[in-house]
Subunit: 246 residues, 2 copies
């Protein structure tokens, strides 16, 4: 194993959104620990803590015991520079779906700069549109087109395996750029939306798909810290000019 | 997906030896179906059929329902040209351990000639020495050295994923040689052992590790059909000469 492997894997966070079955939370904790991952975050779990979670975690009590429970995905992504969502369906997504290996390469490269989250949806419904919109990249596990329904714990196991395998096999160049924290990116989106409403470009009564489309655009480019400053500077200038007009 | 993928995957057999928990059998069936595998074989399962297996199989009823139950691993390997055992421990093995990707490459290459089995051991004890001796290659899933205990269903999921991923990404040259069926190889071992006893080289009262060592040697070379014929011809010649002497 390359010396960087454990430290990079320690920066990977697994986020489970609204899991229904506590057994799957335990299975995910065990899957994570077998591959050297430790940060588990649960967004509004239906039942947790729960004895089924403990039973399925087997010897991964530490990962389960230190799991963070959050109300929102935004909270779960605090301090991350990249969130990769998982999807089993192509659906209406216009974003390219990464393979697990591509996702692992991107995550481990970015993990040199900060924390990276893999976001898994509810067992039955997957990730909601709102949750998908919080992710900068999307990943899918290749599966039998006639039956692609991986168990949640099994999906976490495959992704964790792919992360460990990739971390052992490859070295990752330091990313050249200084990626913005996702909380900063969210503040930019909020600022952008306010400004667009104020200048009359976005009608809050009929917003259509404007904000999701803008999110998709900026997610593709992966905003850097300096770029956020420039964009928000532009918005502030626009705001003050606009305020001056009225 | 390359046109060969489904047909090669259909020649992969998953063999679970003495599984204790029926839930794991169901999870393995589901894991297999998500990756397009269909041949499940159970050697002396503790409880099967069982409602836990059905619950965990989810939509993979067909894989579970067509699972073959055998008394011995030898029976489970009928018709296979290669058996790859799985191990989580380095133990006393003198055989090199393949990575899942290396094992997938070898399996898919040989699958062009015949059926290939992946053999998983009991949840607590793994594969026995006797079971390991029936395998021509061994594979291990890379794991956290401090906690390498993958759940059985999760281990099947990882290997099935690696098989599908590899089948999609690579093309496999037709193997040049005509590998012997494992049943033929077993008949050769039986013949060899009888002959060695008859010529006084192997003392059945104190066999030591002679047969396992010979098995390891021939497993490494992967015996071809023609070679088996030559070797058994030699043994027969030795037998008749020896019979003539007495």
């Amino acid at each position: 194993m390359l010396p960087q492997t454990p430290s990079l894997l320690s920066r990977i966070r697994i986020v489970l959104c609204r899991p229904s079955h506590p057994g799957n939370i335990g299975a995910a904790a065990r899957a994570m620990k077998t591959m050297g991952l430790a940060q588990l975050c649960l967004v509004s779990p239906k039942k947790f803590p729960h004895e089924d979670a403990e039973a399925m975690a087997s010897g991964a009590f530490d990962v389960l015991g230190s799991a963070q429970v959050c109300d929102t995905l935004e909270e779960a992504l605090a301090g991350c520079v990249l969130a990769i969502g998982t999807s089993t369906r192509q659906r209406d997504l216009q974003t390219a779906l990464l393979t697990p290996h591509e996702a692992a390469c991107q995550a481990l490269s970015e993990a040199q700069a900060g924390k990276v989250a893999f976001v898994f949806g509810n067992e039955t419904f997957g990730l909601s549109k709102e949750e998908l919109a919080r992710c900068q990249a999307l990943m899918t596990i290749p599966a039998n087109p006639e039956y692609s329904s991986l168990n949640l714990g099994a999906a976490v196991q495959v992704m964790a395996y792919e992360l460990r395998r990739t971390a052992q096999a490859e070295t990752f160049a330091q990313p050249e750029l200084d990626a913005a924290d996702l909380a900063e990116v969210e503040r930019f989106y909020a600022h952008l939306e306010e400004t667009l409403i104020r200048i009359g470009f976005l009608n809050p009564a009929s917003p259509k798909r404007l904000m999701p489309k803008l999110r998709r655009l900026f997610s593709r480019t992966r905003l850097q810290r300096e770029e956020i400053n420039i964009l928000r500077g532009m918005l502030s200038a626009m705001d003050s000019k606009n305020n001056g007009k009225h």
